[in-house]
Each structure stands twice: as C-alpha cells, then as structure tokens.
C-alpha cells in the first residue's frame, strides 16, 4: 500500500510442507502490533486461530481464549533496550508458537543488521529468544501446529517484480526507462540496483511518453531496451507503442496492472487491462502479450519476451498485476541454462557482403536486417514513423504501403504465432470440468483443482502466453473445452476480458464466468465458494 508510516498495513505469510501457490482468507496466527489490526482482521481468524498482541501497547486487554498477550514492548525494552525491536520479539514469539528453532531467524538477523554492527545484532537475537521463550511458556496448545522439521536445503524467495527484473537482467537488457508508478516500480528499483555491476542504464523519465520513446531510442541505437508502468502510465505510452510497431523497433514493456479506471485502487490488484493492451496503439501492427502466473513464469517469459521482440523486431508485453508483482514465492531453482540469448543486431563484420543496407528491406519472413547505427561501417540506418520505403524514407504511394503492411504485419504474425506455447493443462487429462484462466490466477486455480480432484474430473487450462493465442495443431484446447461438461472462465475483472479474446479469436463462447473485481485477488476459499454454484 502507498501508506508509508501511517495508516493500516499488513502482510500475509502462508507456509506448508507441500507447495502452496495462492493466498487464503483464513488466518491461523494474527500478529497484531496495533488495535486496528485486531479490529480489521479478527473476522478472518480460523477455527483454531490465535491472536498475539501486547495489551500494554494497545491499551486494551482481550479475555477471549484465542488471544495471547505477549509483552512485545516490555521485552524489547528489557532485553533490547529499544522499543524498535518489538517486531523481532513478535517474530520470535511466532516461531515459539510454531515450535521451530531459531537458527534461521538468527541468520536472517545477522544479515539484515550487518551494517548496524554486532551490538544491534546481538540485542535483536536476544529479543527473538525472549519472545520465543515467552510464547513457548504461555501458549501450551501451540505445539500442535503440524509444522515438520525445517529442511536443510534452501529455497529461493522471489516476488513477481523481482522476477521480471531478474529476467530482464539475464536477457541482456541494457536500458530501462520508466516513470515511477505503483505497482510497477519494483522492476525499475531492481534493475537500478544492478546498474553499476552489470552496466545497465536506468533512466527515470519525466513522464511515460518520454519513457517509451527513450526505450525506443536506445533500442534503435543498438541495445536491448525495456520500459515498465501500470495502466494509467501505459495509457500515455500507446502513441509510442505504435511508433515501435511502425519503425519495427524491438522493445519489451512490463504493464503491471492495478484496478482502474483513472487512478482507481493504486495498491490493489486487477486483470482489467488485457483488452486495452491488446487493442492499444493506433493502426495495425504486430504485438505479443505474455502474462505470467508465477514469479518463475515471469522470469522465463521476460526472457522469451526479449527473444521474440529482438527476433521479430516487435513490441512484446509482460503483463502482470499487483498481486503477482508483490507476492513472494519459494522455488527450488531457476535454470539459467533454459534462457535464450541470441544477438540479432548486426555490426560491421556481420554485414560483410551486404552492398546496400536497407533497414526495412522486404523479405520472405518480413524480417529485415537490424543494423546498429554507427557500428555498421558506412551503412546508414534510417527509419520513419511515416510510412516508408525499404530504405526507411517517407513515401505516399499505395504499392509501397501494401508491401510494408504485408512485411510488417501479415508475414510476421503467423511466424510469431508458431512460437507461442500451448496453454498448461493441469489435472484430469480428459476433464469434465475445466477452469480457464490467464496470468496471476494460475496459483489459486491450481490449488482449487487439487481440492476438487477427489470428487471431480477437473482440470485447469492456464494461459501465460495470451496473444497471439497458440495454434491448435499441437494441442487443441478449444476441442478440450467443447468436450467438457463445464468450462468456466475465471478472471480478476468485471467483464470477462479473456473470455472475449477467446471468443473473438476462436469462436468459443464461455457460458460461465467467475469474476472478481473488488481489487483483491482470488483466494482459495473464495474461488472454491464461487465454484460451488456450478459443481
């Protein structure tokens, strides 16, 4: 949320010894650092849920059995000599309730406070222990938490925005220009933090119009370039998108959605920009839209976005949303061997034998050679936002126009479509019930499929490469939907935008839509409840 130090803020953590991929509504342990937290979240407390709080801090005592009074403040002052360590006490207390050891927390405290020195580290560790011991003593029923012993192997912890940034970094992105906009800013922050080490230029533009034009300018000049924003900022970029389309300049755009219209709910989530992105920009030109369902998918798809953008010289979107962007997931690993890196840009040595270079030369595939201005010997690189000839110079005649539309759009698009991967089918191989979704609903649909799989032949069909839609020759996903008794499209928007896209592109119409448009992500309980109306 955009509340920095005032107002109510919260953070939800869900853990399990099996893989979890979605949020739940019910809370098992509520750590309340203020009274507001209790008032707002008490209703979400699960059947055996516990609220830990400090009656002295909030000046109120709760007698009800689900409350455990832990003197965060007193312990912090007694042990750490500083009230700021209250949250370390609380963290220790939670671990005490769960019955795990404190080794991991100690290690984290040592890393987090490394710069603050040994004294701060030791005091925090002492506070954690005091909180831990207090909870062990005062929460006798807590051992039944069911948490298995911590494993030795470490997992990655990464959120969607970091995954997009990491994907860009590991795809050779050298230039990122953006105007800060929640919830997309994390991508810029990530890349800026790596700028010096890896030679990346991150430029904060004066507005989103400049941001996309800068990315285009840098890409034209020969480096992999990207911009990022949210819906309102992207509204300003659409003119530039069309420029990238006309000049065949490769760019990658991260559009991290928040609920609109206008300023909307800046720190909440929605999937309502799909059709906007799909139809944005005046005129007709190719584009590709990827919408990852997890940080891992975000990492690989950002890499794929660069590969497709550079290979076909088109704009490619990584469409995400606040929920995926800000959610941290654990993973075993990301495999760098799976990353693609092909340099399609040509320099002097690559252009040997090319007598006369023409930036927009016609070809079988519609793809022209992409030379780097100034690095391509005496060859000149010319392009124009006006309709242009093969050299890149302004024209008016109908014949050239037709050739250029064929080259730029009609020839490239079918080739791009062949590269799009089939949607993911998870669950029953010949399902009677199919949950269809795109982007960030991946995790919640997957868990709900698991919940219903005992009683239903149910599957999830998840699209992370949403435009162009994959070809049906390898996997006929429309036939799968037609054969099912029930196909339900699940979307975090009010109008079923992906269902509309499927219908427009394939003719398949969904009868059933599950929509959520309150600015919150689907949770396991809430999607399950919605589906009870059908199954």
């Amino acid at each position: 949320m955009s509340r920095i130090r005032g107002g109510h803020n919260f953070y939800q953590i869900r853990y399990s010894d099996r893989r979890v991929t979605a949020s739940k509504d019910s809370v098992d342990i509520l750590v309340a650092l203020d009274l507001n937290t209790i008032e707002i979240h008490r209703k979400n407390l699960g059947e055996e849920g516990i609220i830990i709080y400090d009656s002295e801090s909030i000046k109120k005592t709760f007698e009800s059995p689900e409350f455990i009074d832990v003197p965060f403040k007193k312990i912090a002052l007694d042990v750490g000599k500083n009230r700021v360590m209250e949250n370390t006490v609380a963290t220790g207390a939670v671990l005490g309730m769960l019955g795990t050891g404190l080794d991991a927390l100690e290690e984290i405290l040592r890393t987090a406070f490394k710069k603050k020195g040994e004294e701060v580290i030791e005091k925090n560790i002492a506070c954690a222990h005091a909180g831990y011991d207090y909870a062990r003593e005062h929460c006798p029923g807590c051992e039944k938490s069911g948490l298995s012993e911590p494993q030795d192997r470490k997992l990655m912890l990464i959120n969607g925005l970091q995954a997009i940034g990491l994907g860009a970094l590991m795809s050779g992105c050298k230039f990122y220009s953006a105007y800060p906009m929640t919830p997309s800013t994390g991508v810029m922050n990530f890349l800026a933090s790596k700028a010096e080490e890896y030679g990346i230029i991150v430029e904060q533009a004066e507005d989103e119009v400049a941001a996309i034009n800068m990315a285009i300018g840098a890409s034209f000049a020969g480096v992999r370039a990207m911009t990022g924003t949210s819906g309102g900022g992207f509204a300003l970029m659409v003119e530039g998108l069309s420029l990238a389309g006309m000049t065949e300049t490769p760019i990658v755009i991260a559009e991290v959605q928040r609920p609109g219209p206008a300023t909307g709910l800046p720190t909440r989530t929605e999937q309502a920009d799909l059709l906007f992105i799909l139809y944005s920009g005046h005129g007709e030109f190719p584009r590709v839209i990827f919408e990852p369902g997890s940080p891992k998918q975000a990492f690989y798809l950002t890499n794929r976005a660069f590969e497709i953008a550079e290979k076909y010289q088109v704009p490619v979107f990584i469409q995400s949303d606040q929920y995926l962007g800000d959610s941290q997931w654990t993973f075993e690993d990301f495999d760098p061997e799976k990353l693609l890196y092909n340099d399609y840009r040509l320099r002097e040595k690559d252009l040997k034998g090319v007598e006369e270079y023409r930036r927009h030369a016609l070809s079988e595939t519609g793809i022209s050679l992409l030379a780097v201005p100034g690095e391509a010997g005496k060859h000149l690189v010319v392009t124009d936002s006006d309709e242009h000839d093969e050299e890149g110079h302004i024209i008016e005649d109908a014949e050239t126009r037709i050739e250029m539309v064929r080259k730029r759009l009609l020839k490239k698009m079918p080739l791009i479509r062949k590269e799009i991967e089939a949607p993911l089918l998870y669950g029953a191989p010949s399902p009677k019930v199919v949950l269809v979704g795109h982007g960030s609903t991946y995790g919640v649909m997957k868990e709900v499929v698991d919940l219903f799989s005992g009683e239903q032949e149910i599957a999830m069909l998840h699209f992370s490469q949403v435009y162009p839609l994959p070809e049906r020759d390898r996997f006929d996903y429309i036939e799968l939907l037609e054969k099912a008794d029930l196909a339900i499209c699940i979307e975090n928007n009010a109008t079923g935008q992906f269902a509309k896209l499927i219908r427009a592109e394939t003719g398949f119409g969904f009868v059933h839509l599950v929509s959520r448009y309150d600015g919150r992500p689907f949770t396991v309980e809430n999607l399950k409840e919605e589906l009870h109306a059908y199954i």
């Binding site: 480096v223 530039g240 780097v372 100034g374």
Partner: protein, 283 residues
C-alpha cells in the same frame, strides 16, 4: 573527408522559398566543414515540415513522433555516445507538443544538439498559431487572433541554465552555419533556435520582417554571463539579436553515468554466464 554531395538526399517537397532550404544547406555545410562523416551522425526528427529534413540528407535517421525527438535522441546518445546526435524539431513540435521533454532535456544535459525550425506558425497543418506566434496572429483556428503570450524559448533555456543557447536566422546562412558548428561541437545540450519565414502561412514574420530586425550579437558580447544572457534573450521586437547568448561547462549526462565511462553501452558485451550469480542472491 566528407563532401557536400555525400550528404545529398531526396528532393525536398517544401514550398519554394521556404526557410528550410537554407537550414538544410547550412547543416550539410557545417557537418562537412567539421569533418563529420554521414555514418557518424544520427538525426532525430519529429513531425512538422522540419521533421522531413533528415530525408533530404544522408545519415542515420530516426524520424519519430510529433514532439518526441528529445527522449529518442537522449536515449540514443546514452546507448551510443560516439555518435553525433542532432535533434531537429519545429516550434510546435518542440515547444508545444514536446514542451515537457524540452525542459527535462535541459536539466539532463545530454551532449546533443537541438535545432528548432522556428517559423512562428504551424506549416504542416496549414497555418494555425504556434507557441511562438505573436499575440493577435489570426488564423482559421484563431478567429480572434492568438490570445496567449508567445513563448520565449531562449529566456526559458537561459533561466534553466541550459548548457548552450543560441539563435540563428535562415536568411543569414553563413552565420547560421557557424552557429551550427558551435552548437554541434559544444559539449552539452545545445539549443539553436532558428528563425525562418513560412512563405505560405505566416504573413507577419516574412523574410523582410526578419531581415529588417535581425542583427548579430556584438563581437565583445560575453556568453558566459547568465544574467546578461537573460536580458539579451528578452530583446524582441524592433531588433532581434542572433548569436550565442549563453554557454556553460556543465557536466553532461553521459559523463555522470559511470557505466559508460569506459566505452559506449552499445559496445558492451553480454553473456548469461556473467550474470548467473544473481540467482544465488534469492536463496
């Protein structure tokens, strides 16, 4: 050495007598005299009659959108600062549609040259008032005459400590060429506002109107004095000064970005192998 002919491009479609012809010719001569080869120059233009200029030359060209020359030019310079990057814009293009980019380019101070064809009117869209049109300029779109005060790009640039601020006149080609050479060789963001008549739509600011008023700044004028420069920039009416109003030695954007100190961004190699260690930081 480059020749004038090497820069020869397509035949212009500008109106006969347009000031653009002299600007084009002066630019070619300036580049030739500076010994800059066509493949060492990137011209970035916008939309307007000025935006067509690169097509009538031969060099690297990005003819982008109306008003958006400066973001493209700035980023291209950051990507490859070994190129001479020259942005070509018009008064509507740069001071209207691209006004915000103009302000921020001055702040950033990339080492690029900005040539603004300032004819105080919209030519491409056939005669509407521009941000620099005199008050009272009548047109189809301004039936009561332009009611806004004209913008003073030079005073604005000086007020923001723009690295190089100059004005030329298409009718004084020799001086214009010299001003262009000074702008191109200046280290920092260089604004050269170029007065030119629009023979089809501007019936006020004609060739004669300019010729009667324009004069070259005195030999002993000191362009390092910002306050004096501001004063000079306010001079407009019976007499209109031309020349280098102001320049300073501000550090350029490229100089302030450490990652391109050794070599241009575009020449820096990448391999997945070198960034692999980033994955470990997430464990």
């Amino acid at each position: 050495m480059p020749t004038f002919e090497a820069y020869e491009g397509q035949t212009p479609t500008w109106c006969p007598g347009c000031g653009n012809f002299q600007i084009l010719s002066s630019l070619k001569k300036a580049l030739v005299e500076l010994g800059i080869e066509p493949w060492e120059v990137l011209l970035v233009s916008g939309i307007g009659q000025s935006g067509k200029l690169p097509h009538y030359m031969k060099c690297h060209t990005f003819n982008g959108l109306h008003g958006r020359t400066l973001p493209v030019a700035t980023a291209a310079k950051l990507a490859n600062h070994s190129l001479h990057v020259i942005a070509v814009a018009g008064d509507g293009d740069c001071y209207g549609e691209g006004g915000n980019h103009f302000l921020h380019a001055i702040r950033r101070n990339p080492n690029i040259t900005l040539l603004v064809h300032n004819n105080q009117i919209y030519g491409l869209t056939k005669g509407q008032a521009s941000p620099t049109s005199a008050r009272g300029t009548r047109s189809k779109a301004q039936p009561f005459g332009a009611v806004s005060e004209p913008m003073n790009p030079l005073a604005l640039a000086v007020s923001q400590d723009c690295s190089f601020v100059a004005r030329g006149f298409s009718g004084d080609q020799e001086y214009l060429k010299e001003l262009m050479k000074a702008a191109i060789t200046h280290k920092g963001f260089a604004l050269l506002d170029i007065l030119q008549p629009c023979v089809s739509f501007n019936k006020i600011n004609t060739f004669k109107w300019y010729r009667d008023r324009v004069y070259r700044l005195e030999e002993d004028y000191d362009p390092s004095n910002r306050l004096k420069a501001f004063e000079k920039a306010l001079e407009w009416g019976e007499r209109i000064p031309n020349g280098i109003f102001y320049k300073n030695n501000r550090e350029t954007l490229e100089e302030l970005i450490p990652v391109i100190r050794e070599q241009p961004l575009v020449r820096q190699k990448f391999s997945v192998e070198e960034v692999k260690r980033e994955l470990e930081k997430f464990y």
